[in-house]
């Protein structure tokens, strides 16, 4: 059993206690503990269950590479699954529960899987569950899904109470990793005057060196680290950041870092996470190295840990892994663990070294402490069900015949180290195989390249393969020098020298013992979380999943939450061996961001609630809000759909608004309509290219409705153009069209007709625009007074005028989208709200009624006016809509004209716009199709038209619709059958609705009402 020692623990504050809970048990730890160290200190050996076989698992690592110790953290809205205990700082009141087990961690029914893993090899699901067919959906898949996942999902009835934010930074250098390599790099770059951001993912500086007893410039590493920090803190150009993980490196020096601002606090009054979005000219990856496990049978049992992690728990947190620990290794570094354990007063029954000799300074020191060193040996088996109780030793060279049993509670394993090359690789940096160290390290010749085609990442220290302390600082110095040189800077000052006892070469060991048979190989874990074993990788190779990417996907090796940090290299080596190919030829899988998982909350940043998306507001929006508007989003605008009054349904409200407008006067906030000024000597010529109509002939003072097509011929926008003066047009666009059309204009002006004298300005938001509509519209405006003559004679239909209405600066357009007498009045936005209020006042005696977009839509449909987005859908040309009158025959060219000459566009069989009226007065269903005889080549029912808009008309008291119909205009009076979907989904014959083809103008066909 693991426990807290009476002394030691450089990171904990023993003077204070912290209470926390695990699976409901009340436990205590100290400030400085991680959840993992605190659990171990409390003797909690099993901390989780594996994914596939539900095997009991203990802590194996001490950092980001941990695959086992994942917990559900927090409660209610703060519940977070899959939190890594090794990187979770303990805080008062922390509550965690174990995952992937039922009913309890110690007794898990799912563990039955572990008894039959033989029947569940890699990819077993591809080979079975095939018959009978419906069983997959109804039996097999639910079974698999039931055992899926790790952590518990958050409760949908709760919401995350925390806030998140982004932070943009531009800097010369980002340094990832605050070990001695990262600190050295920061010192050098700082002294050279570069702008530096140094990020360390944990809560403390210095990395491994203090744990490993490294000396720098003759003193313990900690002294140098403290001095380095002091110097760095004094530099204006250097920023230091703890709890900040560099998550990804992207093209052109874009770097994402993930700051856990408040994860170590119970209920923070601060953003929980801050996502740093950094532009760095250069990146220094001083991310260290990961220790590799060894693949021996039973290497996944609770109590088997990485040697370096065990050392971390002893030195950093004063935690003993157990009274007796066997160390198994293929290198000298792991002897440090044996020595540390022994020095802590605990027993190391033996060191099992797969190499034939071990006589460097560290092995000698271990022997001197009385620890037996067994060379050429291996572990044949780990005994114990819920954790280690003994190991059985054998010869590494053999097949696993047991030579002796060694009683122990813990095993420290080390298979060597692999540089953390993730950040180097994210953006395309290539790797080289280092045969001596048996690892991949950055190939300096092939760095990831930036916008200038030059490398922009360097690796420093252990991350570059400089594993031994004596090489680390020199390597970091040189790497930083390369990065600085690319910045045109050079590094003054001295690089410190670190020292540690020499280490002999490791001997690569990918399987232990090397001759293990299939039974043993099926118990050697590679990917701990996903339960991928040596036998699985070998199976993949045997079945032809030879590419490392196939093996990964077939076995799920490296796809767990640690992303293969623990043992991908072991897996590759096993694959290479199975294929008889050299390791570098097999290569690695792709390194993808993030380095360790980051919260979705942080990615979304502040964008939730009120600032999820901008809501564009008109100057009159407040009034709409206060008067109970139902909303219709249009782009980022949010327009009133209607204004339901007490007890009214939306439909009631729409009908009321329409009738009030048609009989007296209504009011529409039309401020969202696009308004673009087009001015210059060539403005007329430009307008003629933009619109299908002839616009250059429009007279100042007059308005004209126009159509705009894309160069591909399709209708893209419509609206009224007013000519302000000889040189100036005011273009009205649809609400959604303003920015798009303005950009479209600028595109043509800047990129095609750049010699034309035309300027545009988008003045949409300068104006509040209100449509005053209905037979009493003129009376209301006249009541306000002012200096504009609003009479029919002075201001006829399709004219505009400028002046004052009441006290307001106004432009009045005599245009109508409803068929009624209508004035669209634009006033400066700042006066918009006051103007609206004044209209309501003046109109009170006429029962003036604000209306929303739905009333607008119904009224325009009653008049047979098309609506962009309803009658058009990106496939419709003006000719389809009977708008030929708006297509100038006199112009040689306009945008879309050439496209409209293509075969399909001139096809007489194109569907054309008509009105539709059901025989029974009902409303046609939205989007219904007119059925035709027979089926097409693909057995789909033939059709001959479709509904484009359909409404209940309160004016006419019946359903009205528009649609596109084959030869429609020539078939007036014919009755079509439209489909419904009511029963179709159930496969039954759906009823159809009969409707007659009529003129699309249902109301006031002569246009008498608008022209008064």
């Amino acid at each position: 059993m693991s426990t807290r020692l009476s002394e030691g623990g450089r990171l904990i504050d023993r003077s204070r206690k912290i209470a926390f809970r695990f699976d409901g048990k009340r436990l205590t730890g100290h400030p400085g503990d991680t959840l993992a160290s605190a659990l171990m200190a409390n003797g909690q050996r099993i901390v989780g269950r594996s994914f596939k076989y539900h095997r009991p698992r203990g802590v194996v690592a001490s950092g980001a590479e941990e695959p086992n110790a994942l917990v559900n953290l927090g409660e209610g809205g703060r519940h977070e699954p899959n939190q890594r205990a090794t990187t979770t700082e303990l805080f008062e009141g922390l509550a965690a529960t174990s995952q992937n087990r039922w009913p309890s961690l110690d007794f898990d029914i799912g563990e039955v899987n572990a008894l039959i893993p033989r029947f569940l090899p890699a990819g077993f699901y591809y080979k079975t569950f095939i018959h009978p067919r419906p069983f997959w959906k109804h039996v097999f898949e639910p079974f698999i899904r039931h055992s899926a996942g790790l952590g518990r999902a958050p409760d949908p009835r709760t919401t995350d109470p925390d806030r998140y934010e982004h932070f943009y930074v531009h800097t010369d250098l980002v340094i990832a990793g605050g070990g001695i390599a990262g600190l050295q790099a920061a010192l050098e770059a700082g002294r050279a005057g570069a702008k530096v951001l140094l990020c360390e993912q944990t809560a403390h500086w210095g990395g491994r060196a203090p744990v490993d007893g490294v000396e720098i410039d003759g003193a313990p590493a900690e002294a140098w680290i403290a001095a380095a920090l002091a110097e760095l803190e004094g530099m204006e150009n250097v920023h230091l950041r703890l709890r900040t993980m560099v998550a990804g490196v992207y093209d052109h020096g874009y770097v994402i870092a993930y700051e856990r601002v408040a994860d170590h606090v119970a209920a923070p009054d601060a953003p929980r996470h801050r996502l740093w979005r950094i532009r760095a000219a250069q990146v220094v990856s001083a991310t260290g190295a990961f220790e590799r496990p060894l693949s021996f049978p039973g290497n996944d049992k609770p109590g088997v840990m990485l040697a370096s992690a065990m050392r971390d728990y002893l030195v950093n947190w004063g935690v003993s892994p157990g009274d007796r620990t066997v160390v198994v290794t293929n290198n000298d570094d792991a002897y440090r663990t044996a020595i540390a354990i022994r020095k802590a007063g605990l027993d190391v029954p033996c060191i099992v070294d797969a190499r034939d000799t071990a006589d460097g300074p560290l092995p000698q020191e271990a022997r001197a402490l009385g620890i037996p060193v067994k060379t050429g040996m291996a572990i044949a088996n780990v005994k114990g069900l819920r954790g280690v109780v003994a190991v059985q030793l054998c010869r590494q060279a053999g097949e696993g015949a047991v030579i002796e049993d060694v009683i122990c509670e813990a095993v420290a394993m080390s298979g060597g180290w692999s540089p953390v090359v993730h950040l180097w690789s994210h953006c395309g940096g290539k790797l080289a195989w280092d045969a001596g160290g048996a690892f991949f390290r950055p190939d300096h010749e092939k760095p990831p390249t930036s916008h200038d085609g030059e490398g922009f990442v360097v690796c420093a220290g252990a991350a570059d393969g400089a594993l031994h302390a004596s090489e680390v600082l020199g390597n970091a110095g040189a790497a930083t020098g390369r990065a600085l040189a690319r910045l045109g800077l050079s590094a003054p000052g001295r690089v410190a020298t670190a020292s540690a006892p020499d280490e002999a070469a490791l001997s690569p060991v990918w399987m232990m013992p090397q001759g293990a048979g299939p039974k043993k190989r099926a118990k050697m874990w590679l990917d701990f979380q996903n339960d991928v074993k040596v036998s699985d990788v070998q199976l993949a190779a045997r079945e032809g999943y030879e590419s490392v990417e196939h093996t990964k996907r077939y076995t799920t090796l490296g796809m767990a939450t640690d992303q293969g940090k623990l043992s991908n290299i072991n897996g590759l080596a096993v694959l290479a061996d199975a294929l008889g190919a050299p390791i570098p030829q097999v290569g690695t899988t792709t390194f993808r961001p993030p380095f360790t998982p980051i919260s979705m909350g942080a990615i979304a940043g502040e964008a939730r609630g009120a600032v999820f998306q901008p809501i564009r507001r008109t100057p009159i929006q407040d009034w709409h809000e206060r008067n109970g508007a139902a909303w219709e989003p249009v782009g980022h605008w949010r327009r009133p759909y209607c204004f339901p009054r007490d007890g009214e349904t939306k439909r009631d409200a729409v009908n009321r608004e329409i009738l009030a407008t048609r009989t007296s006067v209504g009011l529409l906030d039309a401020s969202t309509l696009g308004k673009i000024l087009v001015k210059g000597a060539d403005a007329g010529r430009f307008m003629d290219m933009l619109y299908t109509n002839m616009m250059s002939t429009l007279k100042p003072g007059r308005c004209r409705y126009g159509l705009m097509c894309s160069e591909n011929g399709f209708l893209m926008d419509d609206g009224v153009v007013a000519r302000l003066d000889d040189e100036t047009f005011l273009v009205h666009t649809t609400t959604g069209g303003a920015d798009r059309i303005h950009a479209h204009m600028e595109d043509w002006l800047q990129c095609e007709w750049w010699d034309w004298k035309v300027y545009t300005a988008n003045v949409t938001e300068q104006w509040a625009q209100v449509a005053v509509v209905g037979p009493n519209a003129r009376k209301v405006l006249e009541k306000l007074g002012g200096d504009i003559d609003l009479s029919k004679e002075a201001l006829p239909f399709m004219a505009w005028a400028e002046g004052r209405i009441g006290g307001f600066d106004a432009r009045v357009f005599r245009i109508s989208f409803s068929g009624e007498l209508s004035f669209e009045v634009a006033v400066p936005a700042s006066q918009g709200r006051a103007f609206w209020d004044a209209l309501l006042d003046a109109g009170a005696e006429f029962g003036i009624t604000p209306y929303g977009t739905e009333a607008l839509h119904v009224m325009r449909a009653e008049k047979g006016f098309i609506m962009i987005g309803d009658e058009t859908d990106g496939t419709v040309i003006p000719q389809d809509l009977g708008l030929d009158w708006a297509i100038s025959k006199k112009k040689d060219d306009y945008l879309g004209k050439r496209a409209q000459e293509r075969a399909h566009m001139t096809d007489p069989a194109r569907w054309k716009l008509v009105g539709l009226e059901t025989l029974d007065g009902s409303v046609l269903p939205d989007g219904a199709y007119a059925i035709a005889e027979g089926v097409n080549d693909n057995a789909q029912r033939n059709t001959q038209g479709r509904v484009t808009s359909t409404y209940w008309s309160p004016t006419l008291e019946k359903g009205i619709a528009m649609g596109l119909v084959l030869n429609g205009p020539d078939r007036m009076g014919e009755v079509l059958e439209f489909n419904t979907t009511r029963k179709a989904a159930r496969g039954e014959d759906a009823p159809t609705v009969k409707a007659r083809i009529v003129s699309p103008v249902f109301y006031d066909a002569q246009g008498e009402k608008q022209d008064v």
């Binding site: 992207y250 591909n712 990129c751």
Partner: protein, 106 residues
């Protein structure tokens, strides 16, 4: 995440301040042009894996369109330049040649 320098503002703009606009230096074909020419103008693209000339708009900035020469396989940028030109200017061609000696304009 590209950075492109707007030739008008001189600002090294983040991709999120820009909007992309497809291939540059297209020649417009209008009424009277052949079906072949018109189809090629609207749709057919070399879509090269390598040096690409393209349009960008400094949308969250000066609002101007500009052109860029960029390698689509490495994202290296050889330069940005005015949109008011029908072919890559000599300076850009030189910059590309310096890095891609085998490259020739198509």
């Amino acid at each position: 995440m590209l950075t492109l320098t707007c030739p008008y503002c001189g600002v090294a703009a983040c991709e999120t301040e820009l909007s992309p606009g497809g291939e540059a230096h297209l020649k417009r074909f209008g009424p009277g042009s052949s079906d072949d020419d018109f189809e090629a103008y609207l749709f057919l693209r070399p879509n090269v894996k390598g040096v690409h000339f393209e349009r960008w708009r400094h949308a969250m900035g000066c609002g101007k369109w500009f052109l860029a020469a960029r390698d689509t396989a490495t994202l290296e940028v050889f330069g940005t330049y005015s949109a008011q030109t029908t072919e890559p200017p000599p300076g850009i061609v030189e910059a590309i040649r310096a890095k891609r000696p085998d490259w020739s304009p198509t």
